[in-house]
Symmetry: C2
Subunit: 533 residues, 2 copies
């Protein structure tokens, strides 16, 4: 699903799935034939890699085709479209190799795209089309936990490590980062930091931001490294300029991250509500009580039925607590008490509690069913959507509670209208991935069918644009945790204050005078933004 | 204590206190005679206020003398020293008056110093000496809660409101910001945001940063206003550029703040430990268990004895939980359980629990004694230090747990040595004001005596410098919540990454091209920093 070839479905499996989905959607799906790498003919590279770099800087077709995209490879690869590959792909193994490739690019004005797991769904690692040669710098060989500070519960970690390999290195110390974005298996620490990834915790410390103790980044002007500190009030937080910078300032190479003791105590329940509205009102009351559950995820009735087997048009709220030190039953009972006050239904014997004995919670009943559908690789369509002829996508936002009902209505209406127009119909569903005392972060999924008479990318774009317009107009953010990249630029430009854009452009210019770092993402070069933006 | 004339001690009271302290310190204190405003002769104003501004822009001696300083007025006022007053002090009552005064200053290149409560202890609102005319813009007439969103628990609040007036306006709605820095009575919302104030919550959401939903700031280039959002992942967070900007980018005029339901349930205990070391080890274990108590404040044995009556060289840990929705006894019991595991001593009947009936907690015993000593206006020396001939001050930092014991040792050693040198002796004590899973925020107080043969400001400066050097060398931050101002600049410049300073200077230049906003705070103008900083 996240670009691993080993997870790709076979040709036969794709045909089976397409047939099943055709029946379900009532329209015939035509899975395209996916070309192999040998059949691809890419534009010849526009740069010559000097011999000093050729041990870690490659130009073969697979490297260049693979790094042409982030997760949007799934939209393009099935059709063999690689019109704008990077000219070279570097895999530096040390600071000095990284410095060498960056200074080669800076000297020649080549664009540099930092590449983590390539899980961007917003075109965050896609080469720009109009800026000349592009060198993608993949961090995957910088993948070690370098140091662990058990006393402070922190670890110095290289940016290129993928989620599972990171957890593998922390586990023997009894520690975990507990950052499990949906892209966990196919994304990296550096990517999470660069994009302000949203992770495991549904409340309180939702973004990776809160777990960054210090960060190290190589810019074209040199190294920027912040001091390891648990907290500070010394001027605007330098970490916060790096976090979310999406590669436009430099390449994040490592970070001291706040890690956790591995949880031993857990308590989980799935609570049913008569309606979506009743569910989100209860969610608001629970999050405003500040019990800070690790999980507080609400599924709308269609998702509750489809992925957790909940019948009768009920919404499902999944609440989970966890701790390394303290039994969690009491916390869950407080939350369930609040939920019941708001009309929530759950039997006492449906509260699943692991009091340190290691029995699993949350793997049976509605919660277990949802878990199976949600966790990557554990079931559901997984990576199969791509080649099935489906127009399936997601978008997400966050909005204050006062505007939320209106936003939900407007977004569903606009997206369904766009699906009708682009695909002849489809479905839109919503869940909350993260929740704050002042508002939810709703996550929408939509599904329609490719039309043989339409450009499938145009179908996607039309649906996304309609949804994005509705989100902005209703007071939401263009992204809660998918980042901005190239795809969200038009709406990001309207969301952010214009003077902040001016400040960010100036800050970029200060550390990247030649403007080589991931151009076109977040900001344009100085004076390139059209007036009035 | 925070500049209110009504809180100043009488001449007679000052003499009594000086005599008592002379006995305690074993050295004779000589309180200076404090001049009245009529005796002051200030430098004539270097600007003429145009008639269009004269309804809210003043040049009388009181206004100019008062706004010559922040809290450091206490170091200067007793000696009648006002060598560098602002040339005019504006008190705008509306956006349009604010725009008018800022554009007058920008047109003429006058420096602008945004002024909230004037509680800065680091020279954050002091006119620069070498930059020509200075206009201080006091926000005190912009002091209203403009809008309350009960559903999202947020309020739109003008920046010039002082702590008590802010709470007075929220109380009838059953809400509270619960931001109670020690300067609460004499500081403002805008000042808290501009300086990343540390507040009520000792864990989790410690700084004002976490409560800012959106912010509005007038810069010389116009308005910068962020979108109200509970969370976002759209690029580097624009709020985080404004938060901590200490007036160098613009004037913060209002913010949407996350507010709280007023707590009804409380649970508090004071736990004794055989030593300072045992106390801080226990504190670490409790904060790492992530129960997120509102209060988790540790006093070293001398402070525990002096301000809470705890005998026998024991440290005192004060733990407090509060909630609007949920009884707190269980949370306190979990924390006390962890504390006892780490050697903490507290009897079951010393746990003070208010289960919504309104009985007071934390107002008796050791916790009550500490509260009396700490809360402004409730006792202790209060505003009396100033005119007593004492060299008394505070400094604070934050550091990761692995380096904390070494930092504490180094800071105490260096500060005591400086006190011996500058004052012939003195005392240094420490408490934790805020605590994080990865480290504490220790707060040091020192007391020595003025020497008749020394410059008292030089004494202060020598002590502060020695402490600051020790903090930086041991891996701490130059400030956890007192901000940078002018006083912390030399150490801040070494703490922050040089490339971050370059980015911040560029961002400032983008919104304040003439460099009029609070020059000398945080950064110098482009190219003005000495090389190698």
């Amino acid at each position: 699903m996240w670009g691993l070839e080993s997870e790709e479905p076979t040709e036969e499996r794709r045909r089976e799935l397409a047939a099943a989905l055709s029946a379900r959607l009532g329209t015939e799906l035509h899975p395209p034939r996916i070309p192999s790498v040998d059949e691809l003919e890419l534009r010849p590279p526009r740069v010559r890699v000097p011999s000093s770099l050729d041990q870690f800087c490659f130009q073969d077709t697979w490297e260049r085709a693979y790094h042409s995209y982030g997760f949007d490879r799934c939209d393009h690869a099935p059709f063999g479209r690689y019109p704008n590959p990077p000219d070279a792909v570097a895999h530096p193994r040390s600071d000095s190799e990284l410095e060498a490739v960056l200074s080669w690019c800076d000297d020649h004005g080549y664009c540099v795209i930092p590449y983590g797991g390539g899980s961007s769904v917003v075109g965050g690692v896609t080469p720009p089309e109009d800026r000349g040669p592009v060198v993608t710098v993949a961090l995957d060989r910088l993948d070690r936990v370098l140091e662990v500070d058990d006393v402070s519960r922190a670890a110095r970690i290289q940016a290129g490590v993928f989620g599972p390999a990171l957890e593998d290195q922390l586990r023997p110390r009894g520690l975990t980062l507990r950052h499990f974005p949906q892209s966990f298996t196919g994304s990296t620490l550096g990517g999470w930091i660069a994009t302000r990834s949203g992770g495991h915790y549904a409340t309180n410390h939702t973004h990776i931001d809160e777990f960054v103790e210090s960060v190290r980044m190589l810019t074209p002007s040199g190294w920027l490294e912040t001091r390891r500190l648990p907290g500070s009030g010394a001027g605007p937080d330098p970490n916060r300029l790096v976090i979310g910078s999406e590669g436009i300032l430099g390449i994040i190479t490592e970070a001291w991250m706040r890690v956790q003791a591995r949880p031993r105590f857990r308590a989980t329940a799935g609570i049913r509500f008569a309606s979506w509205e009743a569910g989100y009102e209860a969610t608001r009351h629970i999050v405003q009580a500040k019990l800070w559950p690790a999980n507080l995820r609400l599924l709308d009735p269609e998702l509750a039925a489809g992925s957790a087997g909940v019948e009768g048009g009920q919404a499902l709220l999944i609440i989970g607590f966890e701790s390394a030190e303290i039994p969690q039953r009491g916390f869950l009972e407080h939350a369930v008490g609040l939920a019941r006050t708001c009309g929530g239904v759950v039997a006492d014997d449906e509260l699943m509690v692991d009091d340190g004995s290691g029995q699993a919670t949350g793997r049976t009943g509605a919660v277990g069913a949802w878990r199976q559908a949600f966790i990557p690789g554990s079931g559901g369509l997984g990576g199969a959507n791509a080649g099935l002829g489906l127009v399936a996508g997601t978008f997400e936002t966050a909005v204050t509670w006062d505007r939320w009902p209106e936003l939900d209505h407007a977004v569903r209406t606009a997206t369904l209208a766009a699906l009708a127009e682009a695909c002849g119909g489809g479905t839109v569903n919503c869940r909350f991935t993260h929740v704050y005392p002042d508002g939810p972060a709703p996550y929408y999924t939509y599904v329609g069918a490719y039309r043989s008479d339409a450009d499938p990318l145009g179908q996607h774009a039309a649906i996304k644009a309609a949804a994005s317009e509705a989100i902005l107009a209703a007071g939401g953010t263009i992204t809660h945790h998918h980042a901005v990249g190239r795809q969200h630029r038009p709406w990001y430009d309207r969301e952010r204050p214009e003077l902040f854009a001016a400040a960010l452009r100036a800050a970029k210019q200060a550390v990247d005078p030649a403007g080589i770092m991931n151009p076109g993402v977040l900001v344009d070069p100085p004076n390139a933004d059209p007036p009035g933006r």
